[in-house]
Amino acid sequence: MSKPLLSIKNVSKSFSLGDYEIQALQQVSLDLNKGECLAIVGESGSGKSTLANIIMGIYPQSDGEISFKGSTLPLKRLLSHRKDIQFVQQNPLSSINPSRSIGESLRLPLDVHRIGHANERNNRVSELLTEVGLTSNYSKRYPSTMSGGQLQRVAIARALACAPELVVLDEPTSSLDVLVQSRVLSLLQKLRKKRSLSFLFVTHDLAVVRNIADYVAVFKEGKLVELNGVNELFSKPVHSYTKRLLSAIPVISEDEIQLLNQIKEKE
């Protein structure tokens, strides 16, 4: 049994706002193995984004430990961590610098981690752009001339620039339109397979989870309430909250409606 790629042990996080103490995460433990896609599902206040931010080192946990490839992740991340663990945020309009060209934004990780020779890096940028379905002339463009879907592809390209092992995605398609969303999700699936990446996929959308995840962790108000393989979760959900989430999915087709009815009947 090989060691998990990412191991979260008893992580808690509280924020203090004046007199209030908000418990964003309570004693969360889970593992992600190499090559897996683990989905973190929950609604607002579930703590799912908080966990993603803690893993990325944006702020530290209040308690508990996170290890990557067997060793604990220090508060001040090493450069190697910044290379191996990458981040795709929800809003591409905010996560890509509006005052820099796409090429400049994509070169940044290459320059920071000194990938290849300096004069080769622009070629790398072109390769990355084509890999995410954009043409290399996008390199000279600025975000204001591009759509949300295109920008999210750039964000994905940026995350892949250093050939990471783990990619944390926080609601990567939630701010995108229906058709664009499905294209980007399809792209993510392809890329994951092609590069054998491990994904930590944070979302509120269970239908998306069904199609991309291997394992699912359901969060409610800071606590992990259910953790299971995706097939099992959808056929035999255990926790009542999971069932509520499932029945709230707005489905269209008959077979989906039947599936949900089956779950409801089992209660």
């Binding site: 944006i58 991340r77 910044r82 990458q86 996560s95 890509i96 920071v112």
Partner: protein
């Protein structure tokens, strides 16, 4: 960029502003060619012609030693513009650097830098400049130094606020998470998003700097005779109102044109910024 220029030209107010500014700059650059009495910018006297009301030879009249007022005003434009440029070129980078550093670093550095800035901001600009001049010899260089010393804090505060809000944006988080250094983030990520605000403020400031310098000269601190300066001219002529009205009115109008022109363009730039966000 092209679109922004188009918008500036389309708006009648900013168009007028741009026209005025071009007029001022143009005449300052080509002063040697367009002025009828280029030598009058210096120490020249012509007592046979002194204190003349505006006439055909001297369209704005002559001053108390006989120099052509129109010529002196055009050369004064040149001095004002140079002063404005020098003051801003020095104070803006200092102010911006401090604002970025304080805004991004937070903590103790933020506290120290911003309290220093607050001290400077709390003293009325002219009073501060006068105090500095009181300690130094009244020369043009010292005048510029005094104004520069009190100008940078305004940029620090502007950039500090901008930096603090930009810090929360996704692209800063993305750069941090990718491992970029704080210097890269401050100067290559955040600063490019501040340029519009800086340019707008510099435009609005230009007129104001010239006004302050003129005020210093008006008080006798700053530009000294025989160098022409709009403020000094107004000061000299003030005693002779209302008889030799041209001595004050024309230099005064000249100050008005500069400040008004830059204000119009600066306002238009600021409006563009608001719609951006």
């Amino acid at each position: 960029m092209k679109l922004k220029i188009k918008i500036l030209l389309a708006n009648p107010l900013s168009f007028m502003g741009l026209l005025l500014i071009s007029l001022v700059f143009g005449s300052a650059i080509f002063a040697d060619f367009i002025t009828p009495f280029p030598l009058h910018k210096g120490a020249v006297v012509d007592f046979s012609n002194f204190n003349q009301a505006p006439n055909l030879t001297n369209i704005m009249g002559t001053d108390l030693v006989g120099r052509d007022l129109f010529t002196r005003i055009i050369y004064a434009f040149r001095i004002s513009i140079m002063l404005g440029i020098v003051v801003l070129i020095i104070s803006v980078p200092i102010g911006v650097f401090m604002g970025l550093l304080a805004g991004y670093s937070g903590g103790k550095l933020d506290f120290v830098l911003m309290r220093i800035t607050d001290v400077f901001l709390s003293i009325p600009p002219l009073v501060l400049a006068m105090a500095v001049m009181g300690l130094l010899e009244p020369t043009i260089l010292n005048g510029m130094l005094a104004v520069t010393a009190m100008w940078w804090p305004w940029y620090t505060r502007l950039i500090y606020n901008l930096t603090r809000s930009e810090k929360e944006e996704g692209y800063v988080v993305a750069a941090e998470v990718v491992g970029a250094s704080r210097w890269h983030i401050m100067f290559r990520e955040i600063l490019p998003n501040c340029t519009h605000a800086i340019i707008t403020k510099m435009t609005l400031d230009f007129g104001f700097v010239i006004l302050i310098v003129s005020s210093l000269s008006f008080l006798g601190l700053g530009v000294q005779a025989p160098t022409p300066d709009l403020g000094s001219m107004v000061a000299e002529g003030a005693r002779y109102l209302p008889d030799s009205w041209w001595l004050t009115v024309f230099p005064g109008l000249a100050i008005l044109i500069i400040v008004f022109g830059f204000n119009l363009v600066g306002d238009a730039l600021r409006d563009m910024m608001d719609t951006d966000s």
